[in-house]
Amino acid sequence: MPDKPSDLIQGTLDMLVLKTLTLGPMHGYGVSARIEQVSRGVFHLNAGSLFLAIQRLEADDLIEGEWKPTENNRRARYYALTKKGRKRLDSETREWNRQIAAVARILEAS
């Protein structure tokens, strides 16, 4: 099992969850599946980290949760982005890009 997931910094995971929710309301498993899919298997999330992240985001008013039936008529909690969440995502993304560019510059400088 790749050990990348445990190295994911807390803030980065939050950002990824927020980004995933921009596509529309999703339940917990859906978010985890999507992240795994888009990252092409680089990131595996365990239930604990994911739900902790969701809890943090909900506590900060960045996402809203609601119980809804799924396609299989099972009850699941669907989360959606709030306006505040959208704004936070934008700023986090900007910051992340800035940091990445800086790291790249340092690495390229010989």
């Binding site: 339940h27 498993y29 604990g48 739900f51 809890q55 506590a59 008013d61």
Partner: protein, 889 residues
């Protein structure tokens, strides 16, 4: 989610824990099942799929735990669990819990009560505007040994007109009246005051108005302002009271105003029964102004101008006095020089009770210290007992913070319980003080639990609990679990904790010793005071006072007739053995006169106490004649003036020659011959020296003070129990002769004597209680420490006994420890006592603070108590079977 929503949800979770847990469960289960489904799609069996999912994504249980533990509501949940656990642990050791709570309650309750009393009586500001600006001016005649005489009428006017440091001045005089015409005749305490008094004090009446300047003239002064108390009692708070008329000494007064309940000038510090009930205008008769030094006793109060200090005012007043003494040099000559003193009104009204209360405060603070030390000891012992449990918890994975919190929670619970009991106790004690406190502790009725004090003492106790709960917790959480759990290790008490405990106990014993010595010395003083020979026999004597007011008895001859008639009738009442009358009684009244010996210089005056009596008074009081004889009814206004003096007078002024037939001048009424010498009595207080006294016959001498008459009646041995009945009969007799004479302040001589020592009795009682309390608490502290160390050493002692040590030596080992602590404590206590003994000196009577008997007996008592306290643990230690304790861990 917003804060409010968060809190709401969290609260909902706390109360519907099950539902919240269920929901989370559902969510996580759904997650896992969806993950499993995906795996099944990828080709695994259901069982394998679930297992794989679990492996990859962490187990459900741990996940739930992780998620839940971070939510605040679960944090609260763990604390609640800790609290419940703490309560259970406390219930398991009821002795420890009860003792700690009791100690805390006593410390908090007693301290709050005493501090509240001190605050109400000493510190609360008087209800006047800017009370710190109010100054009293009173003159002393230093060469005559007279102090606090007030001022004379003419002098007041000079002060008023010529001072430069007061923005307002006022004068007032004590006055008492017979209130008649409204049911039973009453005696009312009153004050006459200049119109400027009420504006000076800055208090407005709640009904009506106060005096106008025009009313301060004789003839127009038939107006009165009544106190709130009087208004309630006489008129039931009727708002139509203005304009009603009352008769004071037969003169009609119209009520023009009612003062608020807090206004008690000038009896701010006096007990309820002595408070002024109404105020009338004061006017100075012209002849009194002219004859400058005829009478003192006018009180002078002034309000300092802003920016002026008391010192400046004193200088200013002194200048004015010098000025008028020069102007009237012919009056102020020889030993008749006045020296005015200026002092703050606020301090003056409590000056008598201040030392007493401060002393009590110091004593009770000591009790608080002991209580805190005890609680500390108890908590330390307890925490050490739990060290093994704590180390196991740490080994299993408890976070350091949680361990500390758990230790703290117990301490906090105890502090809470102790605090609540303390508040309750404080309330009870304060109510008790109000009811049973000495009557001359002014403003006693106002004592209420003072919130600041309560908070302060609560804080002290809570902080102590937390501190002593925290120290061992911190230390415990730092040691590694293994060292605590080792088989052979002695669990618990580290060296440092043990030293701390020992030091605490030594301090407790020291403080207890200080209080015990203080209490014993005070008790000894009190007993000495009670054993002072009064000079009269108070048993079975009742006192009834009345007043022959001037308007109805303008002529002393008429009054004398009524007095003789009353004496005659009273002596024939059943059960009465002897009757007498006096204008001033010992231990309740004081009257001083100035006299000049027959052959002394023109201005060589001296002072003596005075009372005007009927024949037979001395016999009734049980006093005896050293020489000469009593007055007789033959001594009247027409016959040569005679006087009886006491032994002190003879010793001081009549030395040498035969005292009988010596003569002196008084009051311009001629030469008085001494016809008898009687034994000394105490006048102002039991612990004051008997003063020189001059007695006159009330039928021969008439003065301004002759109107008040106190009848003393000595009861037959057989009727001593029937005092109440006798009171009524005496009243009836008086009313038969004159229905408008009030009979008031009926009491017994025994009660008078008892009242005069009421303050001392109160203080001794309190001090002794504190000493006893301190002793008990110190013993308890010693007991708990010794019993704990003894139980810790069970193993060692068992080994010793198995190796052949005798019971006696085990006893001795433990007792030695306790004895050493007691000894050091006593030494420290003696040192502390000698340092603070000065506080005590003022209250002692004929007993030195370093009374040798007490200084030896008290430490012995403490050491004895210490040995007692160590006895039980020592006994328990020796009774353990060595085999059992060696196996027991």
């Amino acid at each position: 989610m917003s804060l409010l929503r968060n809190i709401k949800l969290g609260l909902r979770t706390v109360f519907r824990k099950k539902r919240a847990a269920q929901e989370l469960d559902e969510e996580l289960t759904a997650f896992l099942e969806m993950a499993a489904e995906q795996k099944i799609e990828q080709g695994l069996s259901r069982k394998e799929a679930i297992r794989a999912v679990r492996l990859e994504r962490g187990t459900l249980g741990v996940t739930k735990e992780v998620v839940q533990s971070t939510a605040w509501e679960s944090v609260a949940g763990t604390y609640w669990m800790d609290v419940r656990f703490g309560v259970r642990m406390l219930l398991k050791s009821p002795g420890f819990a009860a003792v700690t709570v009791l100690t805390l309650a006593l410390g908090i309750g007693v301290n709050t009560a005493v501090f509240s009393a001190v605050d109400t009586v000493l510190l609360q500001p008087l209800p006047y505007s800017h009370p710190e600006q109010l100054m009293l001016v009173s003159e002393a005649l230093p060469q005559l040994g007279a102090d606090d005489m007030g001022v004379a009428a003419g002098e007041y006017l000079d002060y008023r007109d010529r001072n430069r440091s007061f923005s307002q001045t006022a004068a007032y005089q004590d006055a008492g009246f017979n209130l008649t015409g409204a049911g039973t005749p009453l005696r009312v305490t009153a004050d006459s005051a200049t119109a400027s008094l009420f504006p000076l004090l800055g208090v407005r009446p709640i009904l009506g108005r106060t005096f106008a300047e025009e009313e301060s003239v004789a003839g127009a002064d038939g107006v009165a302002v009544i106190s709130h108390d009087f208004w309630q009692r006489q008129y039931g708070g009727d708002s139509g009271v203005l304009g009603k008329t009352i008769k004071l000494d037969e003169k009609p007064y119209s009520i023009i105003g009612v003062m608020p309940a807090s206004f008690r000038f000038p009896s701010d510090a006096a007990p309820a029964s002595e408070r002024v009930q109404l105020w009338v205008p004061l006017s100075f008769p012209a002849d009194l102004i002219q004859d400058r030094l005829r009478e003192f006793g006018t009180n002078f109060i002034g309000r300092l101008k802003p920016g002026f200090s008391g010192v400046q005012a004193a200088q200013d007043i002194e200048n004015v006095a010098q000025g008028f003494m020069r102007e009237h040099a012919e009056v102020y000559s020889g030993s008749l020089l006045v020296k005015p003193r200026v002092f703050a009104y606020a301090a003056h009204s409590v000056s008598k009770t201040r030392p007493l209360l401060l002393f009590l405060m110091a004593a009770v603070a000591c009790v608080l210290l002991i209580a805190c030390a005890n609680v500390g000891n108890l908590l330390l012992a307890r925490a050490s007992r739990r060290s093994r449990e704590m180390s196991i918890r740490a080994a299993v994975g408890a976070v350091r913070r949680r361990l500390i919190v758990q230790c703290l929670i117990e301490s906090l619970l105890l502090a809470l319980l102790g605090g609540m009991s303390g508040i309750l106790l404080a309330g009870i004690l304060v109510a008790g003080l109000r009811r049973f406190g000495p009557p001359n502790l002014g403003r006693l009725q106002d004592i209420a639990v003072h919130p600041h004090t309560l908070v302060f003492t609560l804080l002290v106790c809570v902080i102590t609990s937390i501190a002593f709960g925290l120290i061992p917790a911190l230390r415990l959480s730092q040691t590694s679990p293994q060292s605590c759990m080792k088989e052979s290790a002695q669990p618990g008490l580290s060296r440092a904790t043990q030293t701390l405990q020992t030091r605490l106990v030594i301090c407790e014993i020291a403080i207890a010793l200080v209080l015990v010595i203080g209490g014993s010395v005070l008790l000894k003083s009190f007993i000495r005071v009670l054993n002072v020979p009064f000079g009269f026999d108070p048993n079975g004597v009742i006192v009834v006072r009345t007043l022959f007011d001037r308007p109805r008895y303008p002529d002393p001859a008429k009054r004398a007739v009524v007095q003789r008639d009353l004496l005659e009738r009273l002596s024939h009442l059943p059960g009465i053995r002897a009757v007498g009358a006096a204008s001033h009684l010992p231990l309740s009244d004081e009257r001083r006169i100035g006299f000049r010996l027959e052959n002394a210089a023109e201005d060589d005056y001296h002072w003596a106490e005075n009372s005007m009596l009927s024949p037979g008074y001395f016999q009734t009081m049980g006093m005896s004649f050293v020489r000469g004889k009593d007055f007789s009814y033959a001594d009247t206004a027409g016959t040569p003036p005679v006087a009886v003096v006491n032994e002190m007078f003879a010793k001081k002024f009549l030395m040498g020659a035969d005292p009988i037939q010596q003569r002196f001048h008084w009051g311009g009424r001629g030469l008085f011959s001494v016809i008898g010498i009687v034994n000394d009595v105490r006048i102002s207080a039991l612990d004051a020296e008997p003063p020189p006294m001059i007695y006159f016959s009330m039928f021969q001498i008439d003065t301004g003070a002759s109107a008040g008459t106190a009848f003393v009646l000595r009861l037959d041995r057989s009727s001593e129990k029937m005092e109440q009945g006798i009171f009524k009969e005496v009243q009836e007799t008086i009313w038969t002769v004159d229905k408008d004479l009030p009979a008031y302040n009926t009491t017994t001589l025994t009660a008078l004597v008892s009242d005069s020592v009421a303050q001392r009795r109160f203080m001794t009682l309190l001090m002794s209680s504190f000493a006893l309390l301190a002793l008990l608490m110190a013993a308890m502290g010693l007991f708990s420490v010794i019993s704990y160390t003894a139980s810790e050493r069970t193993r060692e002692l068992a080994v010793r006994m198995a190796l052949g040590a005798r019971r006696g030596s085990i006893y001795w080992m433990i007792l030695r420890r306790g004895g050493a602590m007691a000894l050091f404590g006593c030494l420290a206590g003696l040192a502390a006592f000698s340092a603070g003994s000065r506080l005590l000196e003022a209250n002692l009577y004929q007993v030195s603070a370093f009374d040798p008997a007490t200084l030896i007996l008290a430490p012995l008592l403490l050491i004895g108590v210490a040995f007692l306290a160590c006895y039980l643990p020592a006994r328990r230690a020796t009774q353990v079977d060595p085999l059992v304790s060696l196996r027991y861990e």
